[in-house]
């Protein structure tokens, strides 16, 4: 069994990425409120999925497939912040307050302005 350096690096990337995915899923179960769960579910999972995809791209020999896998990773990198922001804003505007919050500037701002300005 010959282990060359590239596939060893790819396996390391995959293992670390899958570990991050598992811990972010664990955080999604253990964290107390919706916003912290968004932190776990979208941000950390982005890192885990990116690392796993980079590992898969290194593992595969044909480089057209490598480019396609990296394209999927790039798509994740662009769309995940957008969707997590959309969910967080929808949560707040719907009226779900953070359960333990030490500071809430946004609620004060919404109460002061009343009317939302140009969005």
């Amino acid at each position: 069994m010959n282990i060359d350096i590239t596939s060893a690096i790819a396996c390391a990337f995959m293992v670390v990425g899958v570990f991050f995915a598992m811990t972010s899923a664990l955080g999604m179960i253990r964290f107390p409120d919706v916003y912290t769960r968004i932190h776990a579910g979208t941000k950390a999972l982005t890192g885990g999925a990116l690392m796993t995809l980079v590992g898969a791209a290194l593992y595969y020999p044909a480089w057209q497939v490598k480019a396609k896998i990296l394209l999927i990773a790039l798509f994740f990198l662009i769309t995940n912040p957008i969707s997590s922001h959309a969910i967080a804003r929808a949560c707040y505007l719907h009226g779900i307050k953070p359960t333990v919050s030490y500071k809430d500037d946004y609620g004060e701002n919404l109460n002061n302005n009343g009317e939302e300005t140009e969005r």
Binding site: D33, A40, T46, K68, P98, K103, D105, Y106, N109, T117
Partner: protein
Amino acid sequence: MGTYRKKSILLFVVLFLFWVLFTWKLELPALVVGLALSFVITRISHLSFFPTVHELYRHKEPPLHFRFREAITFFPLYVLNILLATAQVALLALKPHIELKPGIVKLETSIRNKTTLVILANQITLTPGTLTVDIDLAHHNLFVHSINLRTLDADSVRKEVKELEERLRRMME
């Protein structure tokens, strides 16, 4: 007008590269069809998306640049930030007792360009411990949810975001 033309030429080239990448047919008819399609889509996008029909322009925007020398240090730090964010959430999730101090902080930015603001917001979402909740375009404010306010007056979050903002402004404005 010149920036629009430059932008659409850039979009055309990127679209054609995207077509070649995901079809991978290096023959004459496929390449011709790809050229025609990316030209048509560039025209449509040029009409509808870049001058932004759906928004009102109330402020004058400073023009955008792209400096390669800053970009060389920008993107590796971006990737490093994502990995740090992932590791931080992983450490928080593996702790036996979870004690969080979350809170929403209002940040005032000095960036005036809307596209740069959006890039900054997405970057804040991917950096450790912060998540953009909303954006106030009239006053250039961002509302950031922090997972762990170490000091209760939110100075640490402001300092981190200030650093990101400086780097982004050096690259783009």
